[in-house]
């Protein structure tokens, strides 16, 4: 028995040395890497995170598999609070980010993080917000809806996934640009519940994700009036105009960007290694095939591009949300 204990102690000491060695980041990563997702298992962020990290274990990628840890709650606040204060900074725990969600939340306050708490690694996806109505709606174009809303302030009910997520930002932008007044209805069950409200006729219209709206239109349940992006989506919705084309100066600030980040304080060489390898991993052809099959729009962006995008969103949202 004593012998066993000694051996156990020795192997534990060995393991401790091994961990100490990784802190030097020379051969990072030498064990599996975690990704914290701030939404529940099965949600769009979780589902996509699992796909884009599936080739991490390949020798020419990280050489170590990536596992997903779900930390859902309060629209992502629980997970990002945890990540910004408690996660290790050795590069063995990354987190998925959702922009504009976490930046808007940090501007509104009540959370422990801001864009400065994190270091972006790379972006994998961009899901624009679209304006939708039920299949039998009297609105056939975005102009009709906005004109009606101007004539009847507060009478157009629009469902969306929650407060200060991309959907809400898009609604605020359209209101600010046109002077129309909507009744924005946040739902508790995320984008799916907001979609159900539109299909069932509980609300007059809604703002939802392009990917989900595309599927709902394929199934014959809704009409898509406009997309809140700089260009039309050639792959999924070539026939739907952007808000810009329709004559409203609403840009792509509400696009839901998804990607990976680490906590501030992570060694620079670890960040550099991840920033070099992770975009390659996102662009892998097996990943692309799965993402396309799931109707999830891919947009791979490097660390530098994401840094610029975060800074732009920070400035824009601080202005938009002022006084709300």
């Amino acid at each position: 028995m004593k012998k066993l204990m000694t051996r156990l102690a020795m192997s534990l000491a060995g393991a401790a040395f091994a961990f100490a060695g990784t802190a030097l980041a020379g051969d990072y990563p030498d064990r599996p890497v975690g990704v914290a997702v701030s939404y529940g298992a099965g949600g769009a962020t979780d589902f996509q995170a699992r796909i884009v990290t599936m080739v991490a274990g390949n020798e020419d990628m990280l050489g170590q598999p990536i596992y997903i840890v779900n930390k859902p709650g309060a629209g992502g606040r629980v997970g990002w609070n945890w990540f910004s204060t408690e996660a290790e900074t050795d590069g063995y725990m990354m987190s998925a980010y959702n922009v504009p969600h976490f930046i808007a939340q940090s501007i509104k306050g009540g959370v422990k993080y801001s864009a400065d708490s994190f270091e972006p690694i790379a972006n994998w996806g961009a899901d624009p917000a679209v304006v939708i109505v039920g299949k039998d709606s009297k609105f056939n174009t975005i102009q009709e809806m906005i004109d009606f809303a101007k004539a009847n302030p507060g009478k157009v009910t629009l469902s969306g996934a929650g407060l200060f997520v991309g959907h809400h930002i898009a609604a605020l932008q359209i209101q600010k640009e046109t002077g129309a007044k909507f009744a924005y209805i946040p739902t508790k069950g995320g984008g799916a519940a907001a979609m159900k409200a539109v299909i069932a006729g509980d609300v007059l219209g809604g703002i939802n994700n392009l990917s989900d709206a595309f599927r709902a239109r394929e199934a014959g349940n809704i009409k898509i009036l406009a997309v809140a992006d700089l260009e039309r989506n050639a792959e999924f919705l070539p026939d739907v105009p952007t808000l810009m084309e329709a004559g409203y100066n609403v840009d792509n600030s509400s696009v839901n960007f998804r990607g990976l980040m680490v906590r501030k304080g992570t060694p620079q060489e670890v960040i550099d290694k991840l920033a070099a390898k992770v975009p390659e991993m996102f662009a892998h052809k097996r990943v692309a095939k799965r993402m396309k099959a799931g109707g999830s729009p891919v947009k791979v962006m490097s660390r530098a591009e994401v840094q610029t995008m975060w800074a732009e969103r920070q400035a824009f949202l601080a202005d938009l949300l002022k006084g709300l």
Partner: protein, 503 residues
Amino acid sequence: MEFLGYFGGVFEPVSLLLLIGGTIGGLILGATPGLSPTMAVALLIPFTFHLAPAQGLILLGAAYTSTVAGGAVSAILLKIPGAPANIATALDGNEMARQGHGARALHLSFLSSGVGGVIGVLLLIFLTPMLAQWALAFGPSHLFWLAILGVTVIGSLDSKSFVKGLLSGCIGLWLSMIGFDDIYGAQRFIFTDALTGGIHIIAALIGIFAIPQVLEMFSKGRDGRAIQTIAVPDHSLKDSFREILGSGRALTIGTVVGSIVGLIPGVGGQIAGLVAYDQAKKFSPHKDKFGTGHPEGVIAAEAANNAMVGPSLVPLLTLSIPGSPTAAVLLGGLLIHGIFPGTDLFERNPEVAWTFINSMLIGQVLMVVFGIYTAVWAAKIARAPIPIMASAVLVLAVFGSYSVQQSMGDVTIMISLGVAMFFLEKFGFSAAPLVLGLILGPIAEANFNQGTLIAAAQDGPMVYFFTGPLNLLLILLVVLSVGYSFWSNMLHAPGSAKLEPAE
């Protein structure tokens, strides 16, 4: 009858193996506290990457079916419901086990699960287009009234005293308000980080049901008093079959309630078992026996929670709207194979859609077979000495509450609620009404808030909440349910009615 042509796909060697593996695995996962059906299905999705679409779905469907039923094992033997769906099963099931009828309770629970489950899937096969319209009919105002209807059940559920039942329910409703409000963004009662996201139902469930029992076992062990052990003697399967056939009323009530509740998006399986249990009690000539180890309680609850499985997929398969968290995970599993659910799913991908549904039908049967087999193993486990049993339950409770969101905060919440419940039980409060309050609170609140926002844009809340046939029907049911509780309270316990005139 189109589906009959696709049974071949289910019986291919690989598919059948997956079906059997998924069923056994699902039973084990379901019996582990903390691993809910949603988690089990989410854990399996990466495995389906390497399978053909139909085979992947067979695995997911089998796991969904059997985790729901597997939760009954821990509910009956340990009084820890594996998932919210199994709360009602614990009420009478655990009492039966204590009285030495553990094997009988397990047999009945799996047989009624099978009957409810098969009927649920048949509804999915034959009535899908009609049911889809019904599922869409429920807007925020109707879901609000439905939740209120659930609240009226609270007082009469598993409680000696109507007042104490209602008080437990109120505590649950209050606990459900903790955390971040999704509609207005308000922060309520958040004193520590762990409460930002509110109280997770699984952590609460484990704490409230398991911890008081563990404390009880330890305290009795210290006294050296006689400890009631759970023996699971063999029970004749033939008798169980005969009993099921003789319990038509409970079985029917369970199946009907489960199918209807399962259809409604956003309410789902969490309350199917509890509502069915309550209805079975109200319609039974032996009302007093409920809560004391009455088989009808187990039968109604388990028939309901498996009958829910088939109809809960209707909004998903026809409208691409996931009606429950588990359905949302299944949607992910479909999309990853490039299959978009929608009205034309059965025309575009008939072999995938029908093979999936057929496998759930066969899965129900396999679930009964393997489930009954667990009764044999359960007997061996239940023979463990009390100190080991108590420790094992404690370990499972900590593991289960941690694993839901990998959070030690949940473990703290679980233990705190558990210890509080231990003392509440000493004063005659019971766990089931409290948990029902915790489940119904968010449904009632979110839909009320949404409803008032929508009403403000229309003709005001009075019109929105109090007109329309479905609203009026639900309000009528609420009034009837409250009236019935009053009436039966006065009738059955004149003494206690005099003591408690207030409500």
